[in-house]
């Protein structure tokens, strides 16, 4: 399973918790559209830390970076 597949699977489960069961594209807005809230973004951060060892402490934080699968992939790299 690629990083992207792992990420998509996690976000799919997160969306399901928020009542969104439809499939979603890589560029679909997740946060700014209101599908996910700021607490969900924090869960994505924790997931990325645990799954991919991402450390954003020195990088700063912008919710826009978590708004779509594409944006998150840009953050963690291929």
């Amino acid at each position: 399973m690629t990083k992207k597949d792992t990420l998509r699977k996690f976000i799919q489960s997160l969306l399901a918790e928020y009542g969104e069961t439809a499939d979603f594209g890589d560029d679909v807005s997740l946060v700014l559209s209101g599908r996910l809230d700021s607490l969900a973004v924090l869960r994505i951060v924790v997931f990325l830390e645990q799954e991919f060892g991402l450390d954003l402490a020195d990088q700063g934080f912008d919710q826009h970076d978590f708004d779509s699968v594409t944006n998150i992939m840009n953050l963690i790299g291929d």
Binding site: G19, V46, D55, A57, D58, Q59, F61, D62
Partner: protein, 488 residues
């Protein structure tokens, strides 16, 4: 046929295709501007200058960024280049009256920040580049301590404190600029000065956030601009409705019919004492009856929420007219079903400032191995520590007058407020149900939960914006008097 449920006090102009199309034409733009200017004239005294600036931004949207810079500096000039009154009576205060002094201080502060910003960008892996906002705040606190402690000559004293005042006004705008330094397509810092103390108004808390956010919400097509401006008109209309409402409340709560007070012919008044009066009534004066204390508290809280909404709506309405489709600062706070939700709905841009400058940095750094403590600590860092720091630095006049330490001591009631608020929001985030509010039964969603949240904030408002001549026990004494307990 439209149902009764679809009735709207203010028509959703931005959803009418013909109105949106008309608002994109030259005559349509003129009408939109004229309607807004008329509404604005009922809302603020500087409506004419704001309307002229909006006209330039409406007809020349391609030049929005440089025009915004011009508008912001013109507004700063017309507003007297910030308030230095506290320094005017000092021995070196004559300096304040010199025409060149105030703009020079603003220029010095902006140039110094430009140098810092460049340094931070160039040395992003050094200690300066890794924590630029923390370093900026520490520098500011250090400058305050130095200005207070050093025996400076009168003229230099005034000059240094003038720099402190200006830097304090810009502090959180600079923080946003530093936050957005790595964002894609961040505009040149020179253009970002249009968003620093923008002409549409605000406080020390940037409305609406920084350049990176403004770029995202900027109208990019004529249609988007038309929709954005129509939303601005709608919000201003709502502001005016609320203004009438708050005046009506003022008459009903505090009017003095015997003195001829009336509002639109209404002379009815409950004769409720002001919150300040009931708060001070314990000190040597006959205390008010407990029910009157409650009435005064509820009336003051009610007026405060509505007046605060009016203030924020007026700013965001003009921001929308300038072509930035910003969210409201206050959005249906009485619909909040959790303590955290209310705060988000009541003062959105302040909450965002605290989240971005305190919550995320704390969340990304500390207690990574215990998720609940991590969330709670980060929330406390924002709603408690960040909140208190912001307000302590905002009241720079008090710091200049009393010195930083005495100013902090006199601020202890707000420290308590920040601690309680931060803890409550932290616990709310941890324990209040994450189930979407829409899934709750109507009575729970619309009555029970909002009432509990409002009761909490209403009681907590006793400690908000405290009178620095009182101490914490005075406030607790009032709290007890609400329940008919009269401590000796």
């Amino acid at each position: 046929m439209p149902s009764r449920l679809s009735f709207r006090l203010i028509p959703a102009l931005d959803t009418y295709p013909r109105v949106v199309a008309l608002a994109q034409t030259v005559p349509g733009k003129a009408v939109v501007l004229a309607v807004y200017a008329f509404g604005l004239s009922l809302h603020t005294g500087n409506w004419l200058q704001l309307s002229l600036m909006l006209a330039a931004l409406t007809f020349l949207p391609r030049f929005r960024a440089p025009l915004l810079v011009c508008a912001t500096f013109i507004a700063l000039y017309l507003g007297g280049w910030l308030n230095f009154d506290i320094l005017a009576e000092h021995a070196g205060g004559a300096l304040i009256g010199r025409a060149w002094f105030k703009p020079s201080v603003v220029l010095v502060v902006l140039l110094a920040f430009a140098a810092y910003y460049r340094l931070v960008k160039e040395r992003k892996d050094g200690w300066l580049g890794k924590r630029p906002i923390r370093n900026l705040i520490l520098f500011y606190l250090g400058l305050i301590c130095l200005a207070s402690a050093l025996p400076l000559p009168a003229t230099l004293w005034v000059a240094v404190w003038a720099v402190v005042i200006v830097l304090g006004k810009y502090l959180w705008y600079f923080a946003y600029a530093l936050l957005g330094r790595q964002a894609k397509e961040t505009p040149h810092l020179g253009l970002q000065t249009g968003h620093f103390l923008p002409f549409w108004g605000g406080s020390n808390a940037p409305f609406p956030k920084g350049a990176a956010y403004l770029r995202r919400i900027e109208a990019k097509t004529p249609e988007q601009l038309a929709v954005c401006q129509l939303k601005g008109i709608k919000l201003l209309a709502w502001t005016l409705v609320l203004t009438l409402f708050v005046r009506l409340l003022g008459q009903l709560f505090y009017g003095h019919p015997e003195q001829g007070n009336s509002f639109m012919g209404i002379t009815l008044s409950l004769g409720i004492p002001s919150f300040n009066a009931v708060l001070h009534s314990g000190a040597g004066q006959a205390p008010y009856p407990w029910h009157m204390n409650w009435m005064a508290l509820l009336a003051a809280f009610c007026i405060k929420v509505v007046a605060f909404s009016i203030w924020g709506h007026g700013i965001i309405a003009t921001c929308r007219m300038a072509g930035y489709n910003a969210l409201r600062n206050t959005y249906k706070p009485l619909h909040a079903t959790t303590i955290a939700d209310f705060w988000n709905r009541y003062y959105y841009y302040f909450k965002e400032l605290l989240v971005e400058n305190f919550f995320y940095p704390a969340f990304l750094r500390y207690f990574k191995k215990s998720p609940r403590l991590r969330l709670f600590f980060a929330t406390l860092a924002a709603a408690g520590f960040g909140n208190v720091l912001f307000h302590y630095l905002r009241d720079i006049d008090v710091i200049i007058t009393m010195g930083p330490w005495q100013a902090l001591l006199s601020f202890h009631v707000y420290l308590f407020y920040g601690l309680v608020l931060g803890t409550a929001i932290g616990l709310s985030q941890l324990f209040e149900k994450k189930r979407p509010a829409e899934e709750l039964p109507w009575l729970q969603r619309r009555v029970v939960k909002p009432m509990m949240v409002i009761a909490f904030y209403c009681l907590l408002s006793i400690f908000d914006d405290p009178d620095r001549s009182l101490v914490l026990t005075d406030y607790f004494s009032f709290l007890l008097r609400l329940f008919n307990i009269h401590p000796e």
